[in-house]
Amino acid sequence: MEKYRKTIKKRMILCGILAAVSVGLGIFHQSEFFDLVSFATRNEAVAGFQAGLLSGFGILALFLLYKYGIAIKDETKIKMLYNKEHDERQNLIRQKAGMPLLMITSCIMIFAGIIAGYFNEIIFYTLVLAAMIQLTLGAMVKIYCMKKM
């Protein structure tokens, strides 16, 4: 359990960094300085999507920071967290839903879509939509497996 406690502390540091980076990038994104350094025409759809994604990451990071902060103070809670992460039934459900490969490919597609969005709006929409559909299907399979198992 000590080893897991150290893992949680590392995750808390990463979450803190992610939250700070999200806020920093968000401010940079909204500032006039972004328009000066932009090398392509600023696409409002891509900019809006980026802003939303950054906000989402920031909120997620803060939520995880809070959750881990609570768990690390209580031995029972940290044990429950450990059990939840290493539960065989949950791992089986994740496997059947295609995790973590599905998540990785979806993230790559979204990232590629954001980059492509600076040059071609259609490619941006296509990639982001494909990633969303992929994630939705994975979630549906996960929910189905959770009900059946």
Binding site: R89, K96, C145
Partner: protein
């Protein structure tokens, strides 16, 4: 020949009946407490009790050991024996 009472779950295995619920009630133990003790979640214990999920060998051993019983005393393998 396969017994008509045998069911197949998403584990592609067979359902195994258990006495976990009775054992828990005898010891006035909640699902949460048992889950914490054997290193799993309450949802997994629920699924095992209702027969939706079949525990792995390691989890079955942990549960049996917690109750100071053998695996065969906690899990009912009658249907599997009938199949053979």
């Amino acid at each position: 020949m396969q017994s008509k009472h045998c069911k197949h779950d998403l584990n592609e295995g067979l359902y195994v009946n258990t006495k976990i619920k009775e054992l828990r009630k005898q010891r006035k133990l909640s699902q949460e407490e048992l889950a914490l003790a054997v290193g799993t979640t309450r949802q997994t214990i629920t699924s095992i009790e209702v027969g939706k999920y079949t525990a792995s060998l390691v989890l079955a051993y942990k549960i049996a050991r917690y109750f100071n019983l053998t695996i065969e005393e906690v899990f009912d393998f009658t249907e599997i024996d009938e199949m053979n």
